[in-house]
């Protein structure tokens, strides 16, 4: 029974990775029409370097991802400090308000943003993309950072204060260092969320300013160009690396009851 279970898992994992493997293989395939068998070549990566729209979209994606990560982490961490550490009326309500951005289908949020930004003159473009991405990332940050705070013993700061630390000193010397792995993990998560975001970006992009996923989508709709495989492969490698680091950080920061 156990062996059967393991085999089944391997089958599932094969299913999950098959198309991705195919795509990566095609990125290194000489043939323009994706004909098999595979002839190894770096041709498409070279062509990629000359593909201006894809490159500029990649730059935008990275830029926005960095900015989103920084802003969302800062805002989300502050909010989490209040939500986790303090009891106050309306806390449950605030917690519930974090759900809509995650629970409501992105199609609805994306179109709503489009409508509202157009109407109020905010418009589309890099600034709109940033506003949208940060809004999506904030709930995730609050969740991750909040969970990290929960694993911290509440009386550590009190102990520091009893030994002569002012509240501020206690926060910086005790809470912050122990909290940092969670904050870093959240920042990474926000980065990944922004990098992979498609739907919202789709509605908030303009023909000149878009992100990589949106650009890939347009390219697919217009017709296949193999550079898409190349850039997707690079993209995949970056995302995987990020998530790997995130997993490592979560393991370090999230362990309960450490002393």
């Amino acid at each position: 029974m156990i062996a059967f279970g393991r085999i089944y898992l391997v089958v599932i994992i094969t299913f999950l990775y098959l198309p991705i493997a195919v795509m990566v293989a095609m990125a290194f395939n000489e043939s323009e029409l994706y004909t098999l068998p595979i002839e190894p070549s770096l041709r498409w990566f070279a062509k990629l370097a000359a593909n201006a729209p894809l490159l500029s979209a990649s730059r935008n994606s990275l830029l926005i991802a960095f900015a989103t990560s920084a802003i969302a982490t800062a805002l989300g961490a502050m909010a989490a400090l209040a939500l986790e550490r303090r009891q106050f009326r309306g806390r449950t309500l605030l917690r519930l308000l974090l759900l809509p951005p995650i629970a409501i289908p992105w199609l609805i949020i994306g179109t709503a943003m489009l409508v509202f930004f157009f109407w109020t003159g905010i418009g589309r473009g890099l600034h709109a993309l940033l506003i949208g991405h940060v809004a999506l990332a904030i709930p995730y940050v609050v969740l991750i950072v909040g969970a990290g705070l929960q694993t911290l013993q509440a009386d550590l700061e009190e102990a520091a204060m009893s030994l002569g630390s002012t509240p501020v000193h206690a926060f910086f010397m005790i809470t912050l260092p122990l909290w940092l792995p969670s904050v870093a993990a959240a920042a990474l998560f926000a980065f990944a969320v922004s990098l992979d975001q498609f739907v919202i970006s789709y509605f908030l992009s303009t023909p000149g300013v878009s992100t990589l996923p949106v650009e890939i989508y347009s390219s697919i709709r217009k017709g296949f160009t193999p550079e898409i495989n190349a850039i997707s492969t690079i993209f995949l490698a970056v995302s995987s690396a990020l998530i790997f680091v995130f997993a490592q950080l979560s393991n370090l920061g999230g362990k309960r009851g450490s002393g």
């Binding site: 009190e158 204060m161 009893s162 030994l163 002569g164 509240p167 450490s258 002393g259």
Partner: protein, 354 residues
């Protein structure tokens, strides 16, 4: 050595009066226990004394000086938390020296003080370890060393032994006592364990639902409990309720004589007798001669054997349960179902308020 006083402390939490006009004095250099069931307010009182939480009413005084408005970080108290609250990202040495650094003591002087404190708790040699590498007992000692190294005005302990297993607990009780005496710090110790309170304290204050029920030395409270609560919480007691007469109380189990002051004749009165103060005389006992004023009949219900002592549960004439604690000097003083006599002196009949 600092004299600590809590004066008419009141604290309200969400509509509940957690502390109600509580006044206690903690003598300099002595260990006072705050004893009570959960919810009695003892931990809250401890936190008010330390400055972790501000009282809604009343004052805290150190050597007569009002420190109620002095914030926690300037009050110079040493606190040992129930969870120890050791800083996980610092070594033992860094944990202990933390308070010293905050007070401006650094370098060689700090290291010397730290070494002295660690020696006092018998943890020399573990300076470089992290809290998670230590056992529960060791963590507790580090917490203690950290609290006393700064020579605080008062040492506060919040049920510090509750996380330890029984054998370790007993060992630590003795250790704690020694350390407290050596350091000479005025100490407030919170516990719900009455045996712990009896073992460690110079003085005990019993709390129930936000009020001080009784205060005094362990012996005084144990021998002369003032209320039913105090009598039941600290140790065990047999209660006899009836009408007060001259020199005693007329109860359904018989006339109980007492040497203590009674309420007016005819009113309701209750007497408490500790289980170990009663002697059993029965079919198997050698002598029946006793100068004890009180004698009643009872039937043995059950005998709980515990090696050195036995607890004997009996039913009195009116059906009430009586508990007697006796040393097992002789084998089997009685057997279940036997009718025996219980005797105790009037001096051990304590009149209590109900």
């Amino acid at each position: 050595m600092v004299r600590v006083e809590a004066c008419s402390i009141g604290k309200l939490y969400g509509g509940v009066l957690v502390l109600d006009q509580v006044s206690v004095a903690f003598q300099p250099g002595l260990l006072t226990s705050l004893l009570g069931p959960s919810g009695s307010g003892k931990t809250t009182l401890l936190r008010v004394i330390g400055g972790f939480v501000a009282p809604d009413e009343g004052e805290i005084r150190f050597n007569g000086e009002d420190v109620t408005s002095v914030p926690l970080w300037r009050r110079n108290v040493g606190m040992v938390f129930q969870s120890y609250a050791l800083f996980p990202h610092m070594t033992v040495e860094q944990n202990v020296v933390f308070g010293l650094n905050r007070r401006g003591v650094r370098g060689e002087a700090a290291r010397k003080e730290t070494a002295r404190a660690l020696e006092m708790v018998r943890l020399t040699g573990l300076e470089r370890r992290r809290p998670k590498e230590l056992s529960g007992g060791q963590q507790q000692r580090v917490a203690l060393a950290r609290a006393i190294v700064t020579n605080p005005r008062v040492l506060l302990l919040d049920e510090p032994l509750s996380a330890l297993d029984r054998r370790l607990r007993q060992d630590m009780q003795i250790e704690l006592r020694r350390i407290q005496r050596e350091s000479g710090l005025t100490t407030v110790f919170v516990t719900h364990d009455q045996e712990e309170a009896l073992t460690l304290s110079d003085s005990v204050a019993i709390l129930d639902r936000g009020k001080i029920v009784q205060e005094g030395t362990p012996g005084a409270i144990y021998e002369r409990p003032r209320t039913r609560f105090a009598a039941s919480f600290l140790g065990d007691a047999n209660f006899f309720t009836g009408r007060a007469t001259q020199g005693g109380v007329e109860t359904a189990a018989g006339l109980i004589l007492t040497g203590y002051a009674l309420p007016p004749i005819g009113t309701s009165a209750t007497i408490a007798v500790r289980p170990e103060k009663m002697k059993i005389f029965g079919a198997r006992s050698a002598d029946f001669e006793t100068s004890d004023e009180n004698k009643i009949q009872a039937v043995v219900a059950e005998i709980v054997y515990a090696g050195a002592v036995s607890t004997i549960l009996l039913k009195s004439a009116d059906g009430g349960q009586i508990k007697v604690l006796t040393q097992n000097r002789e084998m089997s003083l009685a057997a279940p179902g036997e009718c025996v006599s219980l005797a105790w002196s009037a001096a051990h009949s304590v009149v209590i308020e109900d």
